[in-house]
Symmetry: C2
Subunit: 306 residues, 2 copies
């Protein structure tokens, strides 16, 4: 049994899994566990699981001699953080779910609801790879692409909870159609799934982005071409981000960032080529891995206590 | 002689002219005057004129029974507002000029230095067309294109004073080369000068953007095509802005906005077409005309007094 100390009950809810933790105010993790989201059961069942897991975590904290002081929940999609409402989420099925108030009522603790990428950016900017910079753009590249613009430790939310959708900016007017319905979005060219799709279409055999990266590194010409095209479109997107945000550091996270220097080295060179009068941001890999969402949800909840 | 009352000495320095005013704390103008910048004389002479004009304005205020309480100066280019330094400006020739401290020393008043478009956005967001919205994107379209993202009455500056450069985002990978050196920037397709250039190249006779708008309205096919292409690229740029910022209102200013509904109506329709899951911002014309920079410089100076 750990003695004393305050913790935040933190949940990062994704389309397939929930990362859950008890997080201390300094950002260290006292306990972590994972659960399946099973989104196919429908949004009401998912909400039920979220509340059950959160309540059990608060109980676990108390059993371990810790004091749960707040609850932070991160979800994907469009999130209205001011009202604490999950407005819209394609992969979890939320439509206007007042998750913050539901958690507050169930746990009897102050609660905060955040957007998964925005709180991930919050964590990377405060505790991770961007901690030396006041102006940070966190870009998560996985199935989709989304960003968080964090200034002085606070992530921009937007007027309707939808800021940071860098995956849906136009980079290739003649490019493939995006899941959102528009042609040429960054996400339709440079996401991990887009890279896998593109190679699969050209090579005729199912391949993931990680395999494309490995084959490109091994000198395979087709893989190298697909990888290069994705990196170039990504550099176009980041250059647009730099023109609008003018940050000191760009932190690249999500599954694709696991390619490491094979992604970051050519991306840095391509970004440099595109910047003229703008200062080049420091381009670095995310440092917190898939814990970022949980840590960020905890930070957001702690902010509400101040 | 006006009786009593505090005013701010405000200057908006452009490549050709300086708009100058004594501005009351409520944003009304007690006195306005204009001077030539004569940038060809070199940056030192321009700085001299700025300080002379500011000092004379403070004297004029006192002679009129008013109390000058601060000085606000707006300049184009890259502006480090925190340090009060005009870092770089193509059309005035500034390189690392500590204008804020120079003005403070000369006038013996607290001073603030701002970026012309960012303070223009500040004024439009607080006093003008965006005054009902908490999240505003002000876009000035003239010789160039630049933006200011204003949230809760405060304009984003960026890590190096260069935020909001929406004119230099990629919209047409195969498009004309921009003055910045890169191909396909929004400014190279949709600025007033780009529209004039494009029509001139196709028609073979020198024409301004205002004339292109008039001819398009009169049903001339070539003018209509050039106008439509510019509006579509502009809509792509605004859609990118909405994806990243998620604002409630977009305020369009600068010379091109004088086209009124001939610009705003097709632009609104083209923007709507490009938004899928994002909420459509209110798209409106700027309300303060070319006084916005001066008013914004005054607001910025007043903010430093708080």
């Amino acid at each position: 049994m750990t003695s004393g100390g305050e913790v935040v009950v933190a949940l990062d809810v994704g389309g397939t899994g929930m990362k859950c933790a008890l997080v201390r105010p300094d950002g260290t993790v006292a306990h972590a566990e994972r659960h399946a989201t099973e989104a196919a059961r429908g949004p009401e069942a998912v909400v039920g699981t979220i509340l059950d897991v959160a309540e059990a975590l608060a109980g676990k904290a108390r059993a371990d001699g810790l004091t749960p002081v707040a609850c932070g929940i991160a979800v994907p999609g469009v999130v209205d953080e001011a009202r604490g409402v999950a407005v819209w989420s394609a992969n979890v099925g939320f439509r206007d779910v007042p998750l913050r108030d539901l958690a507050q009522a169930r746990l009897g603790l102050p609660a905060a609801l955040g957007h998964d990428v925005r709180v991930g950016g919050l964590a990377e900017a405060r505790l991770g790879a961007g901690r030396d910079a006041r102006h940070v753009l966190f870009v998560a590249i996985g199935t989709g692409i989304a960003a968080a613009h964090v200034v002085d430790g606070s992530a921009a939310v937007g007027a309707h909870g939808a800021a940071g959708e860098i995956g849906h900016i136009l980079v290739r007017p003649d490019g493939p159609r995006c899941g959102c319905g528009r042609p040429g979005c960054l996400e339709a060219v440079s996401s991990a799934s887009a890279i896998g799709r593109r190679y699969t279409a050209l090579a005729g055999s199912a391949t993931t982005a990680a395999e494309v990266a490995a084959r490109a590194a091994a000198g395979e010409e087709l893989a190298a071409r697909v990888w290069r095209e994705a990196v170039e479109a990504l550099a176009d997107g980041l250059a647009t981000g730099q023109a609008l945000f003018d940050v000191a550091a760009m932190v690249i996270g999500g599954g694709l960032a696991q390619a490491g220097p094979a992604l970051l080295d050519p991306l840095r060179a391509a970004l440099r080529e595109r910047l003229t009068f703008h200062r080049e941001p420091r381009l670095v890999a995310a440092a917190l891995g898939d814990e970022a969402g949980c840590l960020g949800a905890a930070l957001l909840a702690l902010d509400t206590l101040d």
